[in-house]
Symmetry: C2
Subunit: 124 residues, 2 copies
């Protein structure tokens, strides 16, 4: 059997049509940003259709700020841009996984990842 | 200088108090689930306070289903439970990163990760 026709190869090539993405009732979709080099989860933010369009067109990440109600180009001020290597969609099309090359720090605190603290939940 | 007192060491030990987490106006918080072994992002789901409490107390993941409006214990039917290794919070406390040992497949399709398809966005 030609290995290009194995189920594994077919699965590896499967794609998700951008038109089938499910934005929520606010027009937003969750975007998880992961370092493409070491797999570290860097941050989670929101995209609307326009920020996704700009991200795809320009190759660096744009998000929608729910608090400021405006588009923001990650790193526009700090220089800490995220160069997009790959965008993946989850099985039901309501979450994106954006794999990036992170310049500098992803977090506004200066930490490489926004997830720099473990949850302190004694006993729970 | 004692290396235990470097800023790096302090940052590595920093924790986020569970009581400071910010649940949204629906009482939910986004949870990104990552394979603790290979760093693969497996799925994204929602937790409310009770599902987080059960997750911490029992050591396997519980979520809140927005469509079914009920708690669900991941793997209760399939056996594909997620054993929690670590829970991290992001800088502003409104997203969790749950690092797990995944038994079997995380996705209901049988794929290991829900993010098994790349986004097909020609031209954008």
């Amino acid at each position: 059997m030609n290995e290009d026709t194995t189920p594994q190869a077919a699965a590896a090539e499967a794609t998700f049509p951008v038109g089938d993405l499910r934005f929520d009732d606010r027009g937003l979709i969750t975007a998880v940003v992961q370092d493409a080099e070491d797999g570290r989860v860097l941050m989670v933010a929101w995209m609307n259709r326009e920020s996704l369009r700009r991200t795809i067109a320009g190759g660096t990440t744009w998000f929608w700020s729910r608090s400021r109600k405006e588009l923001w180009h990650k790193g526009a001020t700090s220089g800490h841009v995220q160069r997009v290597r790959e965008i993946r969609a989850d099985c039901d099309g309501d979450t994106l996984l954006v794999r990036v090359e992170q310049v500098g720090a992803a977090c506004h605190t200066g930490e490489r990842s926004c997830f720099h603290r473990t949850l302190d939940a004694p006993g729970a």
